[in-house]
């Protein structure tokens, strides 16, 4: 299901926002003008909907967001937790069409 979320410029570079997509909370991050990533907003460690509020970073080429509560890192492309092999959250395909952001999952 493809769904329009917001304008590209609604997200400040290097930060994230939350979208309501198909009844779910999805965190969307803008790393640059062409790089947009989407993963679950729910943090399985703190049980709170806050991943969009984390800091974006890079570890040996992998882009990640660090949870603002207990700092576990999640790969922005796959949703894999970098600090606990057993934890993986959903990642979603994104598209930029005419300066608008879409989730297509």
């Amino acid at each position: 299901m493809i769904e329009r979320i917001c304008k590209l410029n609604d997200i400040t570079i290097n930060t994230g926002v939350v979208a309501l997509y198909n009844e779910k909370q999805v965190a969307i991050f803008r790393v640059s003008d062409t790089e947009i990533y989407a993963i679950d907003n729910f943090d399985p460690f703190s049980h709170a909907n806050i991943l969009s509020r984390g800091i974006i970073g890079q570890d040996q080429g992998q882009l990640f967001v660090a949870s603002p509560l207990y700092k576990q890192r999640f790969n922005l492309q796959s949703g894999q937790c970098l600090d606990d092999e057993d934890v993986k959250i959903n990642a979603y395909e994104t598209k930029i069409i005419d300066q608008e952001i879409y989730i297509d999952a």
């Binding site: 979320i5 917001c6 609604d10 997200i11 400040t12 570079i13 290097n14 930060t15 926002v17 939350v18 979208a19 309501l20 909370q25 969307i28 790393v31 729910f42 703190s46 049980h47 709170a48 909907n49 806050i50 509020r53 984390g54 800091i55 974006i56 970073g57 890079q58 570890d59 882009l63 990640f64 660090a66 603002p68 509560l69 700092k71 890192r73 057993d86």
Partner: protein, 858 residues
């Protein structure tokens, strides 16, 4: 789920692998399994674990935390997948009933199994004195998850609770009853509390302290009978004919080793129970080991988990053929917080050793009691008792464990902040010094690991386990690793993170001289040009603010901020935020106080007075923050920066204006200082205090900067700390006029901001500084580096550029957008749910969330 393995094992049985059987899957039994994996015992044996309990091993030490979260998963120790991968068969709910030692077979409720080697880790059970009536359904013990569930259920219908037994566990149980909202009593047979760990004076101070918390303590009470009560469910009668009515009773009268299985199998037991073991942890049958709380070594039972862990690793090594590793007893020293009271006990707390000397220190005003016991010549530490203040515990424990010679006046170890009290440096510790007691890792274990190439803390954790238990030793482990690296001539890598090969200090300097104002410039010119990470971004963000003090939510700066700075509030565990307006010096008009009350009421916020003399409003939903702040700012408030690593508060006493002892206007000075330094972003948070006379009611000596009025001017103290590592501030300069005082503080803060490491408080910064406080005096008072003027100028820039970030934010509609929870919907986060407690809201826990549904409020 294990059927495929039973099949696999049967097949492999043809290849003559024999069984290693463990009875009990408690903390120690589980630790043994881990050690067995490490020793590769599964290559030689099929490992079977039998457990009477329905759940795999859980963390009993943290049992009381269950009352906070009611979440079994948080206590679980066993990774079932790992057991599967390692082909370890866990038979849950299966009690081992007897051992046929002749044929080497165990009988269980469900099956029979031959063993080659048997390990008993059956733990212990709570002792319930055989008082008539003790079987009443409202009588409980405190050992397992099901005990706690039963207590919780019963407490819902109860008003009063009694704990029988005033030892360590009894007091922990009392704390639980308090938290469940019961009127709580502790009944102790002996004349004092915690008789094992504390002496009479320590016990009576502890009693005074916990009584002031509302717990009723009854000592020298021999419980005789329990029957139905008149006002409450039960009535307890004592030998002295007094009585006490209560709804529930929790027995905590000690533990007894669980040796039933050993008994029916005729293994040697101690006179008062316990399975006798030797230094190899072997029982009287050479194919059977016993470890943990069921084992009796040298006539002693060890009721702590660390000795059990040591036994587990000894037994695993012995089975693997390493006969040199033995169990030689264990140290039972303990440090804990009971009902919020700090208590520590080391070695011979009662001075029972022949001719030993006891030194005591009692401070009735601060309610602190300390005692050390030394050998007759005063050279060795034999024991110690600490109540009310355990900051000396680590230092004393190292003296005790390592038999180190005491200073000529041993009393200096417990007297408050006497100059010259020796604190042990890493180099002073002998190689045998135990650094991590949970996993008994010594200093030499760590140096060996470092020599073998483990150069980071995570490597050390992996290969020694140090610091992976309670975590209390983390700082000590880090210090040892750095010390060893320096010894090896390896430069300790203090680089900010993998994206920069500079330290924080170097980056601060480079950013200032190059006048970099955003992260992109910094990382492309000084770093690796990537996106950075969650470590370097906030650190650089903080440096940029310290230097230029620009609006933190500017587009180029916003992505650098931790969520607290980003949303200008402190994130709470459920994703809501707290709101903390500045109340400079703790002075507030009734009108403004009413605005706080009205705002809290309108937005349904939990309200609490903080230790920093201001008011915190908790539970603010993201989308409400701008509305709340608009109201506050209209009433004349400004942000309190509680969310930032920056100046927090200047605490003050009421001072000469009102107080009959005051010699100067402490409130006036506090307000000046708070307005001067508000908004200064630093490597860590900064707290100040100002007292109006030497009585020090503002506790200024526990702050980064403390000021105390004297007849002749202000005395300045620096580098104090409260919190986890308390430290009294050092007297830095005396009898200053206000202008000089402010100059010194300007220079002090800026020098700290320039040179400290990221997230380093002033106390640690100064302790690590070569030359310490003397050097600091040279730089700041004598201007030995010739930078005093620069430091003052830099402070001037920060002061000039101050702005209330919330005011700027609510005036900027673009910035306000990010406070909506969703970018594409006006709904709120339905995972935020509150329940009522003591007439206010609190976040619902997971169980409660399942029953209460979120309601949209506007």
């Amino acid at each position: 789920m294990y059927s495929q393995y039973i099949f696999g094992i049967n097949l492999e049985n043809c290849c003559m692998k024999k069984n290693l059987v463990i009875v009990g899957n408690g903390m120690v039994g589980h630790h043994f399994v881990q050690q067995a994996i490490k020793e590769k015992l599964s290559e030689h044996y099929h490992i079977h674990v039998f457990s009477e309990e329905a759940v795999p091993a859980y963390d009993r030490v943290q049992l009381s935390s269950y009352f906070k979260h009611f979440d079994l998963a948080q206590l679980n120790l066993v990774d079932l997948e790992q057991y599967q991968q390692e082909k370890i068969m866990l038979h849950q709910n299966d009690l081992v009933t007897s051992i046929d030692r002749e044929n080497k077979i165990i009988n269980t409720q469900n099956t029979q199994l031959a063993y080659e080697i048997l390990v008993l880790a059956t733990g212990s059970y709570p002792f319930v004195p055989p008082i008539p009536g003790h079987q009443h359904e409202n009588c409980f013990v405190y050992r397992t998850i099901s005990d706690l569930d039963a207590i919780t259920q019963s407490a819902k219908k109860s008003k009063v609770g009694v704990v029988v037994g005033g030892g360590l566990l009894g007091l922990e149980a009392a704390n639980a009853l308090m938290n469940l909202g019961l009127e709580t009593h502790v009944v102790e047979f002996a004349p004092q509390l915690m008789g094992i760990q504390l002496d009479v004076d320590g016990g009576s101070l502890l009693r005074k302290k916990i009584e002031s918390l509302g717990v009723h303590v009854h000592t020298s009470k021999n419980t005789k009978n329990i029957s139905a009560g008149d006002q409450h469910t039960l009535k307890i009668e004592f030998a002295d004919d007094s009585q006490l009515e209560t709804d529930i009773i929790v027995f905590s009268a000690g533990i007894r080793p669980q040796d039933q299985l050993a008994k029916v199998s005729q293994l040697d037991l101690g006179e008062r129970g316990g399975i006798v073991i030797d230094n190899a942890c072997k029982t009287s049958d050479e194919n059977i080991f016993a470890i943990g709380e069921c084992a009796l070594w040298d006539q002693r039972i060890f009721g702590l988990v660390a000795p059990g862990y040591t036994m587990a690793s000894v037994a695993a090594s012995q089975i693997a053929g390493n006969l040199e590793k033995t169990f030689d007893g264990a140290d039972m020293s303990t440090k804990l917080k009971l009902l919020g009271v700090e208590v520590g006990s080391i070695g011979d707390a009662h001075a029972r050793t022949d001719k030993s000397l006891a030194y005591t220190y009692m401070n009735p005003r601060e309610q602190v009691y300390k005692k050390i016991v030394t050998s007759s010549d005063g050279k060795k530490l034999l024991g110690a008792v600490l109540v009310g203040d355990t900051s000396d515990y680590n230092n004393l424990l190292q003296f005790y464990l390592n038999d180190m010679p005491l200073p000529a006046e041993p009393e200096c170890l417990i007297l408050p902040s006497m100059d010259g009290a020796p604190s042990l440096g890493i180099h002073a510790l002998p190689d045998t010094a135990q650094i991590c007691s949970c996993y008994s890792v010594s200093k030499s274990d760590i140096s060996q690991a470092v020599n073998n190439g483990a150069h980071t803390i995570s490597d050390i954790k992996k290969c020694t386990n140090a610091s992976t238990g309670c975590g209390g030793c983390a700082q000590l482990v880090k210090d040892v690793v750095n010390h060893e690296l320096t010894q090896l001539g390896i430069a300790v890598n203090n680089n900010l993170c993998e994206h920069f090969s500079y330290t924080r200090q170097e980056l601060y300097h480079l950013i200032r001289v190059n006048e970099f104002k955003n992260f992109t410039d910094v990382i492309t010119q000084l770093g690796d040009g990537t996106v950075g990470c969650h470590i370097c971004k906030p650190a650089i963000g903080s440096i940029l603010s310290s230097c230029w003090n620009e609006y933190v939510l500017k587009d180029e700066l916003a992505g650098l901020q931790e969520t607290n700075d980003f949303f200008l509030g402190n994130i709470q565990k459920d994703g809501t935020y707290s709101v903390v307006p500045r109340i400079a010096g703790g002075e507030i008009t009734p009108e403004k106080l009413m605005v706080l009350g009205e705002t809290a009421k309108e937005f349904n916020l939990y309200t609490k007075i903080t230790g920093g003399q201001r008011v915190d409003l908790f539970g603010a939903r993201l989308e409400h923050l701008p509305h709340i702040w608009k109201k506050l700012i209209d009433a004349g408030f400004e942000t309190g920066h509680a969310y930032a690593k920056s100046l927090r508060t200047v605490k003050s006493c009421v001072g000469s204006t009102w107080c009959r002892y005051g010699v100067d206007d402490s409130v006036g000075l506090a307000i000046n200082l708070e307005h001067r330094y508000k908004g200064l972003r630093a490597p860590h948070k900064l707290k100040l205090g100002v007292s109006g006379c030497t009585r020090e009611c503002a506790e200024a000596q526990s702050k980064d900067v403390g000021v105390i009025a004297t007849e002749n001017g202000w005395n300045l103290y620096v580098c104090g700390n409260g919190g986890m590592r308390p430290r009294h501030a050092d007297l830095f300069a005396t009898d200053l006029d206000e202008e000089t005082l402010i100059k010194y503080i300007d220079r002090f803060f800026m020098f700290y901001t320039r040179t400290a490491d990221k997230l380093q408080r002033t106390s640690v910064w100064m302790e690590k500084m070569e030359g310490g406080i003397e050097y600091l005096r040279e730089v700041i008072i004598q201007d030995s580096l010739g930078i005093a003027q620069q430091l003052e100028d830099e402070m001037q820039i920060v002061i000039q550029n101050y702005q209330c970030e919330w005011k700027t934010t609510i005036e900027n509609s673009d910035k306000l957008k990010r406070f909506n929870h969703f970018i594409n919907s006006s709904k709120g986060d339905d995972n935020i749910v509150f329940v009522q407690e003591r007439d206010q809201i609190r976040p619902a826990n997971i169980n409660e969330k399942q029953t209460i549904k979120y309601q949209e409020v506007n």
